[in-house]
Point group: none
DNA sequence: TATAATATAGCACTATCGTTCTATTTGTCA
DNA sequence: TGACAAATAGAACGATAGTGCTATATTATA
């Protein structure tokens, strides 16, 4: 998909997630800074030909995303999260790229108006958060979290990714496992990068 | 909700489910045989006041359903599952009753054409299946499972409910925790009632 | 380089959509 | 029965949406 095309497609997806209905051609034009409505139309026709969207001719806001069964919100799976690997986070560049994989997240599990992304868990290292190998963690992209929220964080001194509840204490940060039997760890505020807030965990049992 | 109101609301719901976008006022008028657009508008205003829909003023097809039901697959939450309590299972009577609570389950997490129900986990007794207090387990109602499947079972001799992988062995049944560090338990085939197959686990992180 | 396919730009037409206004009928309850 | 809210009916208006058309620029390809 071309650059323009991808941007338009991503915008439509986010618009539908936020508002509940699809944007008009004019709204796409404005948001994606396209010079004319007809050019948007041109790209929409291409997107339809390529099988990414469906459109009903003449119908205002008649754009429909296809694939994923249309049930639940499509959330891009940006990669895997594992103990010893940095956490992939969306940047302004990568955000509009259509992820290879998408998961559907039930509407009532996603806060409204947040940009969400998902990571597939690899390995057993997150079991202290009751997260198993293969689970999908859905995250809201935030740089800072509030006390008690479950976050995905990269611990730069340990070179380790982890899912923990975060508590800001004087001069240090306490990371508390969801499993209350396990002890918290304490890190220096300089050694932690909060990569997102965990919003939901999905497990498909085979 | 009045008769007319209900009909209009149901039409909108079905329309969105089918087409992926909301109907216009005129389309509602025709489909529900309302004499005028303004009357439709009148009822839409009422539906919005009552909290059933949300509308963006002036936006064509700008109707959005509020609450549950239209995006994910609605699955009834029949009750709670806890270690020491019997597992609520759907019967022919209770099946068609509208459950107090419903969850949306993404279509790609549900096998096709199965009647699914959900249970809310209470307590920490299912941690050996990486299932935390408050999680929702989605189940397919089956009386027998296949080897290796994760099932919800009632152990009549121990008076205990549990989530385990089931393996049929000669003269006994092995119940294997998802957590491989924990040891399996063995039960007499007469002492176990398989209440359903676990299909998915949903966790909404606060 | 020649040539076609793709992408960009702008304009104008027509259909249609949501809204507003007024008037009338039906239903409810004291 | 009277009073008032809810529901019905129809017409008209202004805004805007999707599309068609033409012309040009850019990129890919042989």
């Amino acid at each position: 998909m071309s650059d323009r095309r991808t941007k338009i497609f991503a915008f439509i997806r986010e618009f539908i997630r936020e508002k509940g209905y699809a944007p008009t051609v004019g709204e796409i034009q404005k948001a994606c800074q396209v010079s004319s409505k007809s050019l948007v139309n041109y790209h929409l026709e291409a997107l339809e030909r390529e099988g990414h969207i469906r459109r009903d001719a003449g119908v205002t806001r008649g754009i429909e995303l296809i694939g994923l069964g249309r049930r639940g919100w499509p959330v891009p799976v940006l990669g895997t999260i594992a103990a010893g690997e940095p956490i992939p986070v969306p940047t302004e560049d990568t955000w509009h790229i259509v992820a290879e994989e998408m998961v559907e997240v039930p509407a009532d599990m996603l806060p409204r108006n947040v940009q969400a992304f998902a990571l597939r868990v690899r390995g057993k290292s997150m079991i202290d958060a009751f997260v198993d190998d293969g689970d999908i963690v859905v995250m809201e992209a935030v740089a800072a979290a509030e006390n008690g929220q479950m976050v995905a964080a990269w611990l730069s001194d340990r070179q380790e990714a982890t899912l923990k509840k975060i508590y800001y204490e004087p001069d240090r940060i306490r990371l508390q496992p969801a499993n209350q039997r396990m002890k918290p760890i304490y890190v220096n505020p300089d050694d932690i990068e909060v990569q997102g807030r965990v919003v939901a965990v999905l497990r498909k049992v085979k």
